[in-house]
């Protein structure tokens, strides 16, 4: 059985696509395949005219795609600053043979990324000691320090509380607006997904069951049935109406 099966979709430049679906739907596997960690058994991946099918993770990264991980992956024994420096240095372009020091451009990119997510006070903290929100922010900083054109975010607000979710949402909106980034995000927090995404894609058993406007999710029968449930769908519908009324 394939975790992701015959799934096909496109993301436009500057767009935010939200990917949802029940646990085990194959969302993270989809990211693993795109980012080169798991080889695809078939199909093609095209990014900005380049064929990325079968490319290794580091080459996908150098093509301009950054990703974050569901399990808050970072270098736990290094400090926040060192983490972002690493990403900025090795991710920006392919380093054939490392120099003896991080160059100025690398440092500038790292400092800007840290400032962008607001982690200036934690630069010297060892990452293993960071609380969850700061770890999420660190992953974002590392992901943008290398100035990608496409950002793949795997549950960027999983495990965060309401205020923290709003904080991350604000940062991501600024990312898109200021850096002309394209973002694909996986999220279970529907409020976040719907509010941020231009379009949504819902997966189930490795296949696509919905693709369309994010605010149409709660009205789609299949999505409500296999994923959202009637109560959440109703709340979402209300929430959207509130948001629209607010505008």
């Amino acid at each position: 059985m394939a975790a992701v099966d015959e799934l096909s979709f496109t993301v436009g430049h500057g767009e935010i696509l939200g990917v949802g679906g029940p646990n085990g739907a194959g969302k993270t596997t989809l990211f693993d395949v795109i980012s080169g960690l798991t080889p695809a058994s078939g199909g093609t991946i095209t990014f900005d005219g380049q064929d990325l099918t079968g490319k290794s993770a580091d080459r996908v990264c150098h093509a301009g795609i950054s990703r974050t991980f569901q399990l808050n992956a970072a270098y736990d024994t290094l400090t926040v600053k060192e983490n972002v420096l690493c990403a900025s240095y090795y991710g920006f372009r392919n380093v054939v043979f490392p120099k003896f020091r991080f160059d100025r451009a690398t440092r500038t990119r790292a400092d800007e990324a840290i400032a962008f997510v607001g982690l200036e006070d934690d630069t010297e903290t060892v990452v293993g000691e960071l609380p969850i929100l700061q770890r999420k922010l660190l992953m974002l900083a590392a992901a943008v320090a290398r100035q990608p054109r496409l950002l793949l975010l795997d549950e960027p607000v999983g495990g965060l509380n309401r205020q923290e979710i709003d904080l991350v949402m604000g940062i991501l909106r600024r990312f898109r607006d200021e850096q002309a980034l394209t973002i694909v995000l996986i999220e279970h927090v529907m409020r976040f997904l719907v509010a941020l995404s231009d379009r949504a894609l819902i997966m189930h058993h490795g296949q696509k069951i919905y693709e369309g406007p994010a605010d149409g999710l709660a009205r789609d029968k299949t999505v409500v049935e296999v994923y959202l449930g009637e109560r959440l769908a109703q709340r979402l519908r209300l929430g959207i109406e509130e948001a629209e009324a607010g505008d």
Binding site: S66, Y75, L78
Partner: protein, 353 residues
Amino acid sequence: MNGAGFIRMTPIRRDIAIGLFFLAIAIAIPFIDSSRSTMTQVILLFIWASIVTQWNLVFGVAGIFSLAQMAVFTMGGYTAAMLSLYMGWSLWLTSFLGAFMAVLVSGIIGAATIRLRGAYVALLTIGFAVVMQVLILTDSDCFFYRGVTCYNFTGGSSGLSQFGDFGFRDWLGYKQSLVGKYYLALFLLVLGTIFALVIMRGPFGYAFRALRDNANCASSQGINRVKYQILVFALSGFFTGLSGAFYAGHYKTIGPTMLDLSVLLLLLSMMVVGGLGRAWGPLLGCIILMFIDDQLKVYAEWRTVGTGAITILFIIVFRQGVAGLIEQLWERLLALRGARTAGASATNDKATG
């Protein structure tokens, strides 16, 4: 806070200060006590420290549990010895060829372990060392004759000898030759330490540590695991191989006993006691274990028990090693000072560095 900040901010300056401190002591030793026993002990310390410093790059910094370091060392030593013996080349030249051979072999071991993780790396690499030792020990075919005596290609169980040395006796005379070798060993250790420090503190070291901490995350951030794993093995091979060649030239012999498990475990203990992955851990560990070993000499059979017990103590209680303990104490001390002078400028703390 200021003090702790200072410690983290300028590791390079701190390395230079610590390095000069050790170097001054090392340079002074022959002037204080140039007895044969002291010289040979400290030379051996330098050789062990040279190996452990490079091994620490693979084992500590990159976190790859390779046990092939003595095999790489032996490869360097044997290559130099055999080339000098069979080709008649100067040991100075063949030492470098031995070092390059060690780089090659170490790189190949790195490539062979790419698909393995953790304990399996240890198994494969220890297997490599065992096979190498067995091949040398079972080598009984006659490769050449000196008079009527038959010699094997690898020297077999008795090892290789009569391949010459570094010529210190001709330059400095018998009495001073040991001092000459002492400073050569020290020079090798200094170069090897600078080499390791530059790698550890620069982007190279961060790539290795990134892969150690989280390989998937590192690959997704542009660090190619295959490339950097082979690189760290190859880099750590150079000074290890050079130390092997120096060992051969210093003792004028090299044999398969260098591949004994006891030697490997002694060096592993040195790394653990000193502090895995720490810049000054290998050197501290070597000094401490050599000192303890020396103190326990009179109790004969308790020697290995003593070093074993200390290693266990460090694995269980002080995982960060002596270097880590000193760093913690130092930071706490400076934090206390910083708290007392609350808000005083950071420049004051520099005086204590």
